[in-house]
Structures are given as C-alpha cells and as structure tokens.
C-alpha cells in the first residue's frame, strides 16, 4: 500500500469513515506503536465472550416453557374440576327435584286410590256380620 493511501486510510479511520474491512487492513498495516494500532488493541481487549451463554439461554427458555405448560395444565385441571363439581351438583339437584315430584305424585295417587276404595258410612243401608248393603247412587 502506498504511503498516501495509508495516510488516507488512517485519516478516514479517525473520521469514522472506514468499513470493517478497512479497519482489518489498518490493523495489519499500522505500526505497533501507532495511535491506530493502540486504539484497535484497546478495543480488541474489550471484546470478550462467556462460556455456555447460548446453552444457558436455551435451558432458561426450556425451563420457562415447562413452567408455562405446568401453569396451563394446572389451570385446565382446575377448570375441569370446577365444571365437574358444578355438573354433579346440578345433577343431584335435578334428581332431588324429580324425587320430590315423584313423592308428591305418589302421595296424590295414594290419596285418590284410597278415596276411591273407601266407602262412606252414610251410604250403608244395612250391615251385619255376614252382609253389607250399600246404596249406589
């Protein structure tokens, strides 16, 4: 690279007009004690990575997904239990109502039946140990 181009590249670098490839080139051509080299070295030192961050992030997502599923399942189960209890209670109430109606009907029918089978004393014309004569109007 010509000295002119090198100076231009340095000038552009400090003006913030260089691309990543320009800066890579600058890293290669800059003298070790130049401002550019020292600046790039300082920035390089700040670039660090951490182990397993990808894996831990994914595990975290999986954990949250599991928790979410658990919460959803719990809500669904609770709703099912509530609906079941309400259904059973409704069924019991209906059965009780039907039973009550049945008892009333049974009592009514018994009453009618007994009314029909019993005879009033005023209708008996004659009665002894062997015979009863009833007026049938």
């Amino acid at each position: 690279m010509k000295p002119f181009d090198r100076d231009k590249l340095k000038e552009n670098f400090w003006a913030g007009n260089t691309s990543f490839s320009d800066e890579e080139m600058l890293k290669e051509i800059a003298e070790t004690d130049s401002s550019e080299a020292i600046y790039l070295e300082a920035m390089q030192q700040e670039h660090f990575s951490v182990k397993n961050i990808e894996k831990s992030s994914w595990n975290f997502i999986q954990q949250k997904r599991k928790n979410k599923r658990r919460v959803r399942f719990s809500i669904a189960a609770s709703v099912a239990i509530v609906v079941g209890i309400m259904g059973l209670s409704f069924q019991n109430q209906r059965q009780a109502k039907l039973l009550e109606q049945f008892i009333i009907l049974e009592q009514t029918l018994n009453h009618v039946s007994s009314e029909l089978t019993t005879t009033h004393k005023s209708d008996v014309i004659y009665q002894d140990d062997y015979i009863v004569i009833v007026a049938n109007n």
Partner: protein, 171 residues
C-alpha cells in the same frame, strides 16, 4: 420461526450481545440473566422475527432495553458507561509502554460523552455497523456517523496531546 431456526439464527446472538449487557450492568451474573431474559423475549416473539429485517440489531435493541429496565429497577446504582471500560478488563498488552498506551486509550474512551461512548462501543467492540447501531438506538445513520467521528477524533486528539507531553517530559 421454528425451534430449529431460532437455535440457528437467534441463539448464537447471545454471544454477541453479552459484552454490551456486561458493560451496562457491570456484573457478569446480572448480564447473563439479562441475556437469558432477552432470549426468552425473542423466543416469545419468534413468530414476528421472520418479518424482522435485521435480527442482530433487533436482538441488541431487546438486550439494551432489558438492561435499561434492570438498571431502572435497581435505581440506586446509576448507569455509567465510563466506569467499566477500564476496571473490567485490565490491560493484556505485553510491554509496559504498550500497556500504558492501551490504558490511556481506555481512559480517554471512558471520558467520552455517554452517547459517543455507546456508539463507539457498539461499533468497535460489538462489531455493529452504522445501520445496525442506528436501529438499536432508534436514530438515523448520519447522526451515528457524526457521533463516531467526534468520538474517534477526540480520542486521537487526546492521544496526540499525551504523546506531545511524553516527548517534552523525556527531553
């Protein structure tokens, strides 16, 4: 976006965003938590990610917002970029002079105004380009160029002053 696509395209970005989270929160564990939380947010938005033009910039924005929320939550500790850049990473250069010079650069970077500092760190440490930085900071590219140019020129000026002072001192 499917689980497989997410693992290939989004999850590796956690490596890139981690330094920014650490710079902002000044604590490795807190930074890890912030990155994990951001990845969860991205996972929950995975259906919209397909439409996203620049995933890298979007991930950086999500992490930056998560860190800012975390800083707000822990209000007594104010967000100051300048403190971490020197203290977190001691110089790893070989010679004493080089160490000193690198230390000076870091000191000058740390003294930059907040916005210039943020841009210079995103450009030179995180490796984001101008459109990506503009996207993360929700501003226009021209303004980012101006900030970076000013920041680098300030550092150059300060370094030149240091060298001039050193030359006079050695005479």
């Amino acid at each position: 976006m499917t689980e497989k696509e997410f693992k290939i395209k989004v999850l590796p970005l956690s490596l890139l965003v981690f330094p920014m989270a650490k710079r902002m929160l000044r604590d490795e564990e807190a930074a890890k938590d912030a990155v994990q939380l951001s990845m969860l947010k991205l996972w929950e938005k995975r259906r919209q990610l397909k439409k996203c033009e620049n995933l890298k910039a979007f991930a950086f924005r999500v992490v930056r917002n998560t860190c800012l929320d975390e800083i707000k939550r822990k209000k007594p500790v104010s967000f100051n970029h300048s403190e971490n850049i020197i203290s977190m990473h001691p110089c790893e250069s070989n010679s004493y002079d080089e160490k000193e010079a690198v230390g000076l650069v870091k000191k000058h970077i740390a003294e930059l105004p907040k916005k210039q500092l943020e841009v210079i760190q995103m450009k030179d440490i995180d490796g984001l380009d101008y459109p990506e930085i503009a996207d993360v900071l929700n501003t226009d590219i021209a303004y980012i160029r101006v900030l970076l140019s000013r920041a680098r020129k300030t550092i150059k000026q300060k370094l030149e002053n240091d060298y001039a002072y050193e030359a006079v001192r050695q005479r």
